[in-house]
Symmetry: C2
Subunit: 378 residues, 2 copies
Amino acid sequence: MQNNFFELKQECPNTKARLGVIHTEHGDIPTPIFMPVGTQGTVKSLTQQNLYELDAKIILGNTYHLYLRPGNEAMKFYGGLHKFMRWERPILTDSGGFQVFSLQELRKISAEGVQFKSHIDGSTHFFSPESVVETQRIIGSDIIMVLDECVPYPSDYEYVKKSSDLSLSWAAKSREHFLATQSIWGHKQFQFAIGQGGMYEDLRREYVQKMVEMDFDGYAIGGLSVGEPASQMYDITSVCTEHLPKNKARYLMGVGTPENLLESISLGIDMFDCVMPTRNARNGQIFTTRGKFNIRNSQFKLCDAPIDENVGLFSSKNYSLGYLRHLLMSNEILGLHLASMQNIAFYLWLMRIAREKIAANEFQSWKNNFLSTWNKDN
Amino acid sequence: MQNNFFELKQECPNTKARLGVIHTEHGDIPTPIFMPVGTQGTVKSLTQQNLYELDAKIILGNTYHLYLRPGNEAMKFYGGLHKFMRWERPILTDSGGFQVFSLQELRKISAEGVQFKSHIDGSTHFFSPESVVETQRIIGSDIIMVLDECVPYPSDYEYVKKSSDLSLSWAAKSREHFLATQSIWGHKQFQFAIGQGGMYEDLRREYVQKMVEMDFDGYAIGGLSVGEPASQMYDITSVCTEHLPKNKARYLMGVGTPENLLESISLGIDMFDCVMPTRNARNGQIFTTRGKFNIRNSQFKLCDAPIDENVGLFSSKNYSLGYLRHLLMSNEILGLHLASMQNIAFYLWLMRIAREKIAANEFQSWKNNFLSTWNKDN
C-alpha cells in the first residue's frame, strides 16, 4: 500500500534501522530525525533563522504551553503557529497530556478527559481527546499527537493496564474526531497515536496492535525514558517496532542521549525529540564530536580551541571553549545561546551521519565504532 | 594641529553639533556615535555577528568586570579582548572606577587608588591609576579611560572639589603611565581623560581646562546622568564642550535617552554609551521609530505588525510585536534577544540619521521636529 506521508527508502541489512522521508506540505523530513523542542513557540535562545542555519527539518511545540500562552484565541488571530513564529518548515505538537499529567496535584482524570489547573495562574481547564485535536487544528501543526496518559515508572501491571486502556479509548476518540474535522489553515495535518503499556511486553504488544488497527498516519512509543534502565527501554522499543507496520513513521517520545538515539535507530525508530540538548546546554553540558563535558570545568579556563569544528556551525567554529566557559560562568545570555546552538548542531549532525551510514549500508559498524570511542576521553 | 585620531569633518551652522571620524587600527568610527555596552565581553544576548549585522562601529567593555572575570591572566592568554570575543572592530573600556565606587561599603579610597572587594567572591583588590592602565593594556581596548571617582548627586561643593582634585591627580598619573608604557598586542591605543566637577559650573570649567593641559587623545564628561534634572545635565555639558578643544573627541559617559542623545549632540558631544537600550529591552521597554512602549501591555497581545520596519534590521521586520510580547510574557530568552536587537538598532539608527542631518546642514530642524513628534502617541 502506497503511503503518501511516510516513504521507506532503505533498510539496514544488519539492524532494524531505516532510511525514510516524511512528506508534509511544509517540506520533507529525512528520517531518522531529531526534532528540537520549541515548547512555547521558540526553541529556547534561538531565532528561527538560527534553526534554518542549523538546518532543523522539523521542530516540536507543546500544546499544553501554547494553549495556555498565547492561547487559542491569539493562535487563531495569528493564523497558526507557523505564521506566529515565522517558521515555514514542519512542526509536530504533542497533545499536552505529558505536561498535564506532570502537574500531579493539579489534575483530575475521568473517562472524558482530564481537568487541570494552569501552572501560570491556577485557572481550571479541561482537555479531552477531542479538544486537543481542536487546539492542534488551531495551532496548525503538521503532525498532531493524540491525548494519552503517560504511565509513571515503576507502575504495577493492573495500573498500567487500566491507564493504557484509557489512553487507547482516547486514541479511538481522537482518531474519530480528527477524521471528522478539517485543517483550518489550508495545509494537510497528520495524526499519530501513542502506544503505552509500561514495561510489560505483552501489554506493549497488545496496545501496539490495537493502535495499528485504528490506522493512524504514524505511531509513537510513549512512557519510555521515564527512569527505567536503558536496556529495558531498548527491549520495550524492540517489542513495539516488531509489531509496527513498516510503511508508517515511528516516533520514540522524549528520547534521549546520543547513545539512546543510535541504539533506538538500530531498533527501527525514525523520529526523536528531547529537551536534553537545549536544557543541558543551559546547565553547561556541551555535546561535541569530541565527546560531552561540562564547560564550567576549570580545564576550559584557558582553552582557545573552537567549541566544535566538525558540526558545520559558524558559531561553534568561531568561538572558543574558553569564551563559552567565561559566558556561562558569568551568567551571560550569549552563553546559553552558543551552548544551545552547539548541542542542537551536534544532535542534528549525529542524525545526518546516521542517515548517510544507513544509505551506505554502513550503519551498524559505524554505530558500534562511534559508541565505543565517543566520549571515552571524558 | 593635525590630529590623526579624531578628524572633525563638519560643524552644524545652528548648533554645536559636529560630524567627525575617529580613526583606530580596528576601523573608523563615524561620530556622533552610540557605543553598545558589552560589560563582560558580550553585549547581553547578542553574538558578535549580530553586532556586525547591526553595524555597531564600536562597543564598550567594563574593566572592573573583565579584571575579575575572566581576569588578566586569561585575557593575556587569549591575546586581549578582541581575540577573546572575536570582535574585530574598536573597543572602548572604562577604567572600572564607576563600578568600584558603586560598591559603596566594599571600598576604601586613598591618594594611591581604591581598595575594593569583589562582588563575586568578596576577595580584596586594589585599583590604582597605573594598574587600570596596565589592565586596559592587557585587554587591548582601542580607547582606554583613566581611573576617576564618579561624584554622587547631589554632593556639596567641598566634597566635589576634593573628589575632583583626586580624580585630576589620578588623571595625571594615568597619562604619565600610559605614555611610559606600550601597547601589548601591536595596535595603537588611545587614552581619554574624564572631567568631573559635579553640578558646579566653575569647577567643571576648571577641571576641563586642567585636563586639556595634559593633552589626552579625547575627553569624557563624567558624573552626569546620575539623577540630576536633564536641564542641569545639558547646562553642565554645554559648559564643558565650550572649553574642550574642537580637534578632540568628546564623550558623554552613561547617557542616555534618545532625547538626551540628540540634545547632547547639539551641545557638541561625539560619543555616548548607555545600558538603557539593552537593560530596558530585558524589562520589555522597546524603542522604535514609532516611539517607545512597554511590550507587555495587553494592546500588543493581538498585534501582527512588525517590531519596527524602519531600522533596517531583519529580525525587527520579520517578527511581530505580538510574538515579541508572547516571548517576554513567557520569560523566553529569545524575547530578550529580539528586544535588545531592536533597541540597539534604534539607537544606532538615531545616530546614523543624526550624522546624515548634520552632513546635510539640517540637524537642528530635524532634531526639533523629531523631539516634538517622536513618542507623542504613547
